[in-house]
Amino acid sequence: MTVAVLALQGAFSEHEQALKKLDVDCFEIRQNSDLNRNFDGLILPGGESTVMGKLLHELALYEPLKQKIQEGLPVFGTCAGLILLAKEVDSGLPHFATMNISVRRNAYGRQLGSFYTEADFKGLGQIPMTFIRAPYILNVSGNTEVLATVNEHIIAAKENSQLVTAFHPELSADLRIHEYFLNMIKGR
């Protein structure tokens, strides 16, 4: 199994380290020619969604990746990655717009609103969750299943082969969310 990590900006190396701990091959996507390699899943990391959204277009990655996601490529978006997948973004235009969720960016305010907590994740139990200038999901539709909520806000969801978390599993030593995504790839 090989997982590609979008490496335009942000915390992509943290995801690669998590994948390495799970003995999964991974490589970085930084430009169009990187898409020539085969991969079974894609991770969209945390960072700034405005930066990644712009670079996806300028580096000719937007259309081919969107097509792969629409064709069912398993994809996992954390924080900014969640925003990239959302069909509706409260402030501004959506990006891939492949997942039936609407999101609020910077939903907890500025850095002083960033926080750590532990909460229940469907089927996995208590999971450590780090929120950095995080978004949350306002509502879901279609086949989207809510996987976790914190303070009554949706912060993790899944629709078919798309998984999103508003928090950063790649910043904790707990690998269960990454394993969850790998199981989605295996079950495909």
Binding site: A7, L8, Q9, G10, A11, F12, S13, E14, R30, Q31, G46, G47, E48, T50, V51, K54, L55, E58, L59, C79, A80, S91, G92, R105, N106, G109, R110, Q111, L112, S114, F115, Y116, T130, I132, R133, H168, L171
Partner: protein, 290 residues
């Protein structure tokens, strides 16, 4: 406190692979965001103009900073003077995302830096070598940048600082465990931080390049030398075509090893900032705060 410090280090992790741009107005902030900046540094005058104007340089007007906070959705940073903890308290009160305790402004204290552990908001500080970096981290900085020589458009000092830091990190990695105590004494840094460097071969926080970056090639050079991202100050809004240059620098940082792409990015950027050579500088900012 520990949770908060972790969160602050982690915000810096989210900025990696990105470009943080100096802006002086909401309009410039919007240009920077549209060009792909991962954060902006709000300040009244960019370093090149601080040099030109002379005199005492202070924290910016909070109203001006708030105007920039309202105009963009990316993180907003602002500078306070070295040691001026009240300026830092003000920046925390207006919920800045990151404070740069910066040698670009006139130092307010010639002996002590701010005790950054007393704050909830994160701090980034400049460093020329491993000792300065670890001393700032011991004081509570959750991100480090090279000092470079701001406002010159000359990358030589940033290169020197990044190379110095990396060479020292390699040296520390190769020490025996019992030699670390003496190294900590020589570098005037806490032993536990030095032990982290010994074991991990890197700083315990994210390390960006700053000072004198003016072209996509400069930015890619700093990335190839090991920077995890780049600050661009005067280089963008002192150039002929800020929006185009800013976008080119962003792309060069993402694909910093692709010479062919950087060649394309470097075409037709218009005039770069004029720049001042090392020998021509009257004011050496990197000497501030050791």
């Amino acid at each position: 406190m520990n949770d908060r410090y972790e969160l602050n280090k982690q915000l810096a992790q989210m900025l990696k692979g990105g470009v943080i741009m100096d802006v002086t107005t909401p309009e410039q902030a919007k240009i920077a965001e549209a060009a792909g900046a991962c954060a902006v540094m709000a300040l009244e005058r960019i370093p090149a103009d601080i040099r030109a104007a002379g005199g005492v340089s202070r924290m910016s007007d909070p109203k001006m900073i708030k105007g920039i906070q309202e105009s963009v959705s990316i993180p907003v940073m602002a500078k306070c003077r070295i040691g001026h903890f009240v300026e830092a308290q003000i920046l925390e009160a207006i919920e800045i995302d990151y404070i740069d305790e910066s040698e670009v402004l006139s130092p307010a204290d010639d002996k002590y830096h701010i005790d950054k552990t007393q704050f909830k908001v994160p701090f980034v500080c400049g460093a020329r070598d491993l000792g300065e970096a670890l001393r700032r981290i011991a004081e509570g900085a959750s991100m480090i940048r090279t000092k470079g020589e701001p406002g010159t458009g000359d990358v030589v000092q940033a290169v020197r600082h990044m190379r110095t830091m990396n060479a020292e990190i390699r040296r520390i990695q190769n020490l025996c465990a019992d030699e670390l105590y003496e190294a900590a004494k020589q570098l005037q840094v806490p032993y536990d931080l030095l032990q982290y460097v010994h074991e991990n071969g890197k700083l315990p926080v994210v390390n960006f390049a700053a000072g004198g970056v003016a072209t996509p090639a400069d930015a890619a050079l700093m990335m190839q030398l090991g920077a995890e991202g780049v600050f661009v100050g005067s280089g963008i809004f002192k150039s002929g075509n800020p929006a185009k240059r800013a976008a080119a620098i962003v792309k060069a940082v993402t694909n910093y090893t692709d010479a062919k792409l950087i060649a394309e990015l470097s075409e037709d950027l218009g005039e770069a900032m004029v720049g001042i050579n090392e020998q021509e500088i009257a004011l050496i900012m990197e000497e501030r705060g050791k």
